[in-house]
Symmetry: C2
Subunit: 304 residues, 2 copies
Amino acid sequence: MREFDLLKHVYAANSTLHPRVTIPPGDDMGMVSIDGRDVLVAVDQLIDGVHVRIESTPIELVGRKAIARSLSDIAAMAGRPVASLASVVLPKDLDEPVALRLFESMRWTASEFGCPLMGGDVAVHRAPQHPLTCSVTVLAEPVPPGPVRRDGARPGDRVYVTGRLGGSYSADGSGRHLAFQPRLAEALQLLHDLETRLHAMIDLSDGLGRDASHLAEMSNVTITLDADQIPCAPGCSWRQALGDGEDYELCFTATGPVPSRLGNVEITEVGEVIEAADGDDTAIRVREGQRVIAVGHLGWQHQT
Amino acid sequence: MREFDLLKHVYAANSTLHPRVTIPPGDDMGMVSIDGRDVLVAVDQLIDGVHVRIESTPIELVGRKAIARSLSDIAAMAGRPVASLASVVLPKDLDEPVALRLFESMRWTASEFGCPLMGGDVAVHRAPQHPLTCSVTVLAEPVPPGPVRRDGARPGDRVYVTGRLGGSYSADGSGRHLAFQPRLAEALQLLHDLETRLHAMIDLSDGLGRDASHLAEMSNVTITLDADQIPCAPGCSWRQALGDGEDYELCFTATGPVPSRLGNVEITEVGEVIEAADGDDTAIRVREGQRVIAVGHLGWQHQT
């Protein structure tokens, strides 16, 4: 079962969504108008065995990742964090001091990024082998002229990514997927510098191939990526950089000049947005020398 | 491990909460000020094996309960629903049509109560025996002079409950816990009728004994309940009505006249609020004829 496909199914019936919902399902965050004020909201999950292995990972890094994944969704909209909530199901045999360290790490990480943990829920599984799950809800404010959505890419835009991609996930308790910096500050800086030239953005959780494909589909365009431009993490091929996932970098499209770095974060042009050909539903193409490969299937989904 | 105790531990360190958080952890919902506007937010979970048994329960009722539990938190604050999000971890072997019926039921229930499902996340466990978990976040608006909090009970208040209590939970796929009506309309009507005389409110998920005890602790008062006034569901003793939990009725304290019903929902006076005696941390007492029993331990927690 493909999670994204399932979500599309779920929300296909949702076309009669309430008018106060101003960004419907399908973006990194939804937006709702509350008493005339727009509020961004999203929820993301961290599940032992799917996104992390708690037996080989310091519990503090588990808590950090649970929060940071949701913060990355705020970055993708160029939003400003407001507050977070965590609902957690603990394994039955987890020691209470370990549980407290988990919460302490979540609280600290949320606070570090200006998104204070303001509540939540704790429950305990009925059987020891049932896995830890952390579900983190984040609230954020849109920052004008944002929020930056997935559906704004236009033919002629250039495509950019922050950082270096590939090889982030490791089941052995190490890897960038446990220590990444959500690109909150960089996203706000981009919005400030580019203003309305920043057309579309998404964070890279499923892999550049799959995530750029989501962006292209939502925008009704095709994205062409240059294999030799993709900034690969040390030791990674462009196929890994495209397919591995869990980078939590940003991919965005824009016109006009774009800085080549923000602070110590590289920004790399990796491709361009072109018109989708009539009757062709290819979202992504990768140019490698003279070859052009239609992709999408390289994108990575959590094991299902 | 007691969930409530664990949460208290977690949030004890949270005294330096950000000033934009206007209702801190400990109430049915938190409240945060976003650009000058107060927003209520809460998250609650439904876990197979803890709050429901999916092998013996129609999946539509599982989805309904997942949403309705969180709506009951909105009722407890006398808030007005805005929108909801659901993050779900599906068992590995759950058929996709069943998953779709689960989401459809969540969507329908949320919509029925004016709290449209505007987003969420779906993941799939790595092993078939790992249980379904549904985490539901709800956003709501406070309604002046609300929100009604847990900490406003004052000596001299009378204590009331809606509906009839006890015997709600059954593991066999039946029971009121699957079909209860979140008391959203009743809470708003009470706030409208009583205004500032409605001092404190909580919803009854853990049992009147434990929940009234939370309310008393937050308000620094003692609550005395009259055993023979407690409205018991058919076939239940007052001890069951006090201890069973999963009623999702409201318990509130107020001064002055209170209606004896709202629509077809009974309202019953069950006790009074008195000053907490110096050096006595008993939150709740139950009067049964001439006897007075200090309770709290009758309250029900999910198996841990």
